[in-house]
């Protein structure tokens, strides 16, 4: 009789603990989904901030130092890329630029080739803390001097 009671109590306890673990995980996943959605719009905004900087003047892009983190900052009615760090709530957003090379003959973007001063590779990164770890999402695209 005692053994049966022990087995029953064990099964009930394990079932309750399992249900609690599943619920806890679902809270974590739903919060993560919310943050991922907010981050995806911040990534898009970061890309648009680069485009707006380009539209204001190509010099805003060409004068950036490669592989340095810049922070999109809304100031004086427009987006700027500044070195002064800023955050959006729990999110940290950075923009970095790297030079782009093109093949001398095909003019395709290649690792080896001549530097194309009218094209830059942009990396927008949004990171935030989630359950003790830092989650990072990245968006990469080329921006070109199409208006000069």
């Amino acid at each position: 009789m005692v053994i049966e009671i022990l087995v029953a109590v064990s099964i009930i306890t394990v079932s309750i603990l399992a249900a609690m673990a599943v619920s806890q995980k679902s809270i974590y996943v739903s919060r993560q989904a919310l943050h991922a959605t907010q981050a995806s719009f911040l990534l898009e905004e970061g890309a648009e901030a680069v485009r707006i900087s380009r539209d204001n003047a190509w010099a805003n892009i060409s004068s950036l130092v490669v592989d340095i983190n810049y922070y999109p900052t809304f100031s004086a009615g427009t987006w700027m890329l500044l070195e002064t760090p800023n955050t959006v709530g729990i999110f940290t957003r950075t923009v970095s630029i790297t030079n782009v090379n093109r093949d001398n003959i095909t003019k395709d973007i290649e690792e080896n080739g001549a530097d194309d001063p009218g094209t830059k590779l942009v990396t927008v990164t949004v990171s935030w803390p989630e359950g003790g770890v830092t989650v990072t999402k990245t968006l990469r695209f080329y921006v070109m001097d199409i208006f000069s």
Binding site: E45, N56, V88
Partner: protein, 131 residues
């Protein structure tokens, strides 16, 4: 256990519902060719319908809802009935080559007893406006 279930219910829906609102506003701004009128809580865009005819799309904050109007006719609310919008802000950005709209809104779920709010941000360049 009850507390966890309650918390789960409170979190439910934020990402889906509010992602949809921002997605819809962003898509309409991107495809429009000009800003008709803009104020903090109101954005009216000049755009084209699928047949190429001119039409207007308007987003405005009415109470705690974001309303969508097409050609000045109310289409409906973008937010679900259990989601309230406590803040909405549109800001025009003008560059030598075109225009963009900075979008911000704050949402709250009616089922969240802790009254937590979530902020959403985006900026979209009007693709039909490039010169």
């Amino acid at each position: 256990m009850i507390k966890i279930c309650k918390k789960n219910k409170q979190n439910k829906g934020y990402a889906i519902l509010d992602g949809n609102i921002m997605e819809r506003i962003s898509r309409e701004v991107r495809s429009s060719y000009d800003i008709n009128t803009i104020s903090a809580n109101n954005l009216k865009l000049n755009t084209k319908d699928s047949g190429g005819a001119d039409k207007t799309i308007e987003f405005l904050l009415s109470g705690s809802d974001i309303r969508l109007l097409e050609n000045d006719i109310l289409t409906g609310n973008l937010n679900a009935s259990d989601v309230t919008i406590s803040d909405l802000a549109f800001t025009q950005i003008t560059t030598p080559k075109g225009k963009a709209v900075k979008i911000f809104f704050t949402v709250k779920s009616a089922s969240d007893t802790l009254n937590r709010t979530q902020d959403f941000y985006n900026t979209i360049v009007l693709r039909g406006n490039y010169q």
